[in-house]
Symmetry: C2
Subunit: 309 residues, 2 copies
């Protein structure tokens, strides 16, 4: 039996020109030079234009082929349209309106074909709306704000590729703590995942790895206490005891254990450069001492002089 592919949820507004770390990681997961990627722009109101952008980026990042599949209604989401999914190495859903994705794709033959592609090892990813549809439960829409309130967000049904989770996007840029917390308050069994722009959660074998510029925020509500079952109208919600993880690039998170798996090791370029330089100095010193019989004190003096010059 083949292992399932990675699920890659991107928080929207990923860089397409300069430091394209998020889309580069996507193409690499899809197989790099051998990547065959289906772009699904159904969430977007622009179809072909969006596909052309991603075709250009994925191709310049080395992908072998990029095809477009665009069901524009539930009726169009057929097994025939989905046929090419049988031999792509990656599926990418663009941003737009995620209710179009739950309406046109989830639970159709086309949607089933995406799930089947994932099961046989293809990578399935998406950005913004295309990220939210990936999880079992999909945030449909909601209002911004830090504080969770009753009725501030809606839940719909996603593709189920990340079980027991809900994925929100543009997390930092659109101030979405409140709406994610409100969903977890109502369903504490859900793992809330909020992804910043130009950032992705790469999920494989139950481990979530963070790539990109921002962070992935995880809300674990298993032990939380809430009044969501009785809060009226748009009242602020009680959320007590949620465990919070904010994970920048380089961190990894064990989704089953709900614990940090790898701690980020940020670039220590300067420190490393200093150390390398010191090592090089020491080696040169040792060489000179051995070759010329110069004393360490003499050598250090000569080194200082040559540096001043």
């Amino acid at each position: 039996m083949q292992a399932a592919g990675a699920v890659i949820a991107i928080g929207g507004a990923e860089s397409k020109l300069r430091r394209r770390s998020v889309l580069q990681a996507f193409v690499e997961e899809c197989g790099g030079q051998g990547a065959r990627i289906a772009v699904i722009p159904s969430a977007s109101s622009l179809g072909p234009e969006v596909v052309e952008v991603y075709r250009a980026v994925f191709t310049s990042l080395g992908a072998a082929e990029v095809i477009e599949l665009r069901p524009r209604s539930r009726a169009e989401a057929t097994a025939e349209l989905a046929a090419p999914l049988a031999d792509v190495s990656g599926v990418f859903m663009t941003g737009g309106n995620q209710l179009k994705l739950s309406a046109f794709i989830a639970g159709t033959q086309f949607g089933d074909a995406i799930v089947a592609a994932h099961a046989r090892g293809a990578v399935v990813g998406g950005t913004s709306a295309g990220a939210s549809i990936l999880a079992e439960h999909m945030i449909a829409f909601g209002s911004g704000g830090s504080t969770p309130k009753q009725r501030m967000s809606q839940l719909a049904v996603g593709l189920g590729l990340v079980p027991g989770a809900v994925i929100d996007q543009h997390f930092e840029q659109r101030n979405r703590y409140g709406r994610l917390l409100s969903l977890v308050a109502q369903s504490p069994s859900l793992l809330g995942i909020g992804i910043d722009e130009d950032t992705s959660a790469v999920i494989r074998d139950g481990v979530l790895r963070v790539v990109g510029k921002g962070s992935v925020t995880i809300v674990d509500g298993r032990h939380l206490v809430s009044n969501a079952y009785e809060a009226k109208r748009t009242a602020p919600l009680l959320v007590s005891g949620a465990v919070l993880h904010v994970l920048p690039a380089g961190c990894a998170f064990d989704l089953a254990g709900r614990t940090l798996a790898v701690i980020s090791t940020p670039e220590k370029d300067e420190e490393v450069a200093d150390l390398r330089a010191a090592e090089a100095d020491l080696r040169e010193m040792a060489r000179e001492i051995a070759a010329e019989g110069v004393s360490p004190t003499d050598y250090a003096r000569r080194l200082r002089r040559s540096r001043r010059a």
Copy 2:
């Protein structure tokens, strides 16, 4: 020995006209009809105008007297200026620039007099900047955003009336999760307290009670893992395992135990009204049955008829 007074931290923009629950709670804590309140507008660039607003509100809420004390420099923050603090029942610091409060008041004779007033039982409160200065550590300034980043916020020294804590304000409205989390990531021993606008944290005997329209967000970092000690420049910070409490009005929190003390009991007006009406009906029915010998079935029929009419 007298018990210390309450500390009341308001998240800014508290209602001054209609539903003034936050300022009303402040005046009540200060003794209601007997309240003598000193307003300190040192953080504000408008002095007398701000005092006049609070004088009008506090007086209309029943306070007996409102005085103004306004040190405008560290040199002015003398014991002489502070003399009236010896017999007020409440101290209120307005909003503005909290670095003016740490610069002009904290650690001066005037600041010591505020601390002494609190110790003998006076209430000490403040809004916005006036809230931040109350805790042991004061958030001086910082940028907005949900995701914690290195160097996004500054810490200065507060009055110390809430030990081991840092208080942020305008929490939901200015998207301040990131800056509060960044401070707790750097100092996990700190209890982070974020207060929404028109909302207050009323702290007395180690218990924080929430009053007002929004919520108080508490970040408990005791068990968190962070990379704050090595994150470079403005990199996003790792914060893993922080425990989060978002508390709407009516909730109470045990600051020492860091646990929810009282769960919010939102208004169940309709439910209660229905129950009361049913009880009244039953009582009337019992009375009529006893007095007139009418059968329960007859009575119920008459009741329905009289309601239709």
